[in-house]
Amino acid sequence: MTGRNLSHAAREIAFGLGVAALVLVAAAALRYAEAAEILGGDGARRAMQILVGLVLAAYGDRMPKAYASALQRPCRGGRIQSVIRVGGWSMTLAGLGYAALWALAPLAFADVASMALVGSACAVLIGYGGWALAICRPSADQSL
């Protein structure tokens, strides 16, 4: 592992730990607010889900940078790059949509629609990624 890869890995771990700490602190604060009757049960639930959506969006935003080293793999036409970009965009938009649904929609609708949204983003990523990886197999790469 080169020094550049190590510092990149250290940055990713630091980001992950920071996000984990934020979620734990937010959960504890919301639990306290709920117990002290500052927030109703629904308010605390909405706030936590909005945070989850924003965390998903933040990870989606970083996805193209985090997997940039994969671009050094030989594959014609920049397929890997497009998979990473499509994945990043779909996860970021899904995260923002998830947060918006939990902020604005009725709870029963947000519960179902937010899951459907994230599920669709995962399906786009897996479907597009699978198709592109099939094209990027060494044998397929040579035949292009």
């Binding site: 989606g60 935003d61 970083r62 996805m63 193209p64 940078k65 940039a68 671009l71 050094q72 036409g77 920049g78 790059q81 970009r85 990043g88 965009w89 970021t92």
Partner: protein
Amino acid sequence: MSLVFKALADPTRRRVLQLLKERPMTAGEIAEHVDIAKPTLSAHFAILREAGLVGSEKSGKTVTYWLNASVLEEALLAFADTVGVGLKPGRQRVAAAKKEAAS
């Protein structure tokens, strides 16, 4: 973040990033699409690398560049391109006319 804004403020650098959106390219391939001297292009690459918007790998005499932008940075690139940030007023009109003609 100010490095990113500085990098995106120049139309030539934005053109390079748009080219790299298609696929990783060598410096020579990019130079074919951009009508400027190679030393100037190298200076643009240095600014893009410093901002973390492109990655590069040297293999022999060839340097390959790839897009290393986050989703937000890519959205900023699209916005700067749409608004025409960094273009002089006259060139902005020419770019808008070209866009209109193309559509």
